[in-house]
């Protein structure tokens, strides 16, 4: 138990102070045999699942994603849950909220993995999908989860309206930049922001924005280290892989705009 706690503490320490060590994998033992590769893949997926649960459960229990209107659960689910003495409707609400809270970060993880690996393959430095999966799982579990948590906090907490408005305005302006570049006549529900910088930002809001920016730097930086360590890529090749990930929001938004206008 002490060893387990020590391992968690060391992981947190490495994630903050030594990110290249945090994302480093045992590259020499990956893919030695197919059985070993499958075992390692299972281990990585297990790590991701544990981190996903650790991220999504507190959000769910705090009420994120839980609908105000009770939904009727499927009959099979009701029977199973009721036999354990749990109220089916409440359990179903929590389950659907948990799935919803997990879905956003899982989609972002998949997009990161695809774009990162494509970037590494394009520069001819790939040592295998396992190395990319290891890098992305650890990166998103720590830093992307931190970004999502920060954005959730801004979305729901009182006293940070200025910071919340700033983040929304930046996001909207980013989308409108792409809309204007494509010449599409698409409007967002909230319209084009009149100004990016809102009125006052509270001290708490300033701290959250600063932590979001630092998390973003860690997220991209750890992908860079992952390419350097796990794929043994050079500086330029690793930068290309990171740029591929950084460009993915542009590709996603552009694709969405085109899909809407077709």
């Amino acid at each position: 138990m002490v060893g387990g706690v020590g391992s968690v503490v060391r992981s947190i320490f490495d994630a903050i102070i030594r990110p290249q060590r945090f994302v480093a994998s045992q590259t020499s033992s990956y893919g030695v045999t197919r059985v070993e590769a499958i075992r390692k893949f299972g281990s990585i997926v297990g790590v991701y699942a544990v981190n996903l649960v650790a991220y999504a459960i507190p959000l769910t229990l705090a009420g994120f994603g839980v609908g105000s209107v009770a939904r009727q659960p499927p009959a099979v689910f009701s029977r199973v849950v009721a036999s354990a003495g749990v109220t089916p409707s409440a359990a179903w609400q929590l389950l659907t909220a948990f799935v919803q809270n997990s879905l956003f970060i899982t989609i972002a993880t998949v997009i990161t993995l695809v774009t990162f690996h494509i970037g590494i393959v394009l520069v001819g430095k790939s040592r295998g999908i396992l190395q990319s999966t290891h890098t992305v799982v650890y990166t998103t579990s720590a830093y992307l989860a931190g970004i999502f948590s920060g954005v959730w906090y801004l979305t729901t907490e009182p006293g940070v309206r200025g910071a919340r408005d700033l983040v929304r305005n930046v996001q909207a302006e980013f989308v409108y930049l792409i809309i204007d570049a494509l010449g599409a006549g698409v409007e967002l529900p909230g319209g084009r922001p009149e100004t990016i910088i809102p009125g006052n930002i509270s001290t708490t809001g300033e701290w959250i924005l600063a932590l979001l920016a630092i998390s973003l730097v860690y997220y991209l930086g750890s992908l860079y280290f992952g390419a350097r360590v796990n794929h043994r890529a050079g500086r330029f090749s690793s930068a290309v892989a990171v740029i591929a990930v950084a460009l993915s929001p542009i590709v996603y938004v552009a694709g969405s705009v085109i899909a809407v206008t077709i």
């Binding site: 060590r21 045992q26 920016a213």
Partner: protein
Amino acid sequence: MSSPEPEINEEVSNSDTDEDVPAPPTGNSTSDSATETTVLTAKPTIKPTLIRLAVVLLATVAIAVYFRTNLELLGSPELTAVASLIVLLAGALLSIRYLVRILVRKKTAYIITEASVKREYQLFFRTRSKAVRFDKLRSHQLQQNRIQSVLGFGTISLNKGLGEIRLADVADPQSVYAEVQSCARGVESGAE
């Protein structure tokens, strides 16, 4: 940022994870086994890291003060305050990183025996040891960046890309590197 250091499985350090190993012998005493004689024991210097730490601290304070005295720099006082916070956080994290590196370097020893090169340190009641035997050595190189060249230190990399061991910030690196090369040649000629 230093080069990354993935863990390796090696004959001398035979674990992927931390394990307790006996403390290293000090000085040029006879060895940890009947067949290995310690040829050289070296300790890394902390001077290059101290210089980096000083640069980071000065730059952080200078930039933060500049932001605080020019509040409209980024269009609004709030945005400038956020930028100042980002600089302070980044500076604090880098400083902690360099302080940890200094602490580890002060506890680190590089031990060259006739059969292997070992990097070992003890911290918080744990000993971490990493080694490569000369008969498993596939590459070695000596590097000096600008700060190291000026101060007379260097970094010796062994088996780069194959489970690397780095003897970082070594004083008189040419002599240490010559010992490594000599021992490697000795093992090669012994094998022939």
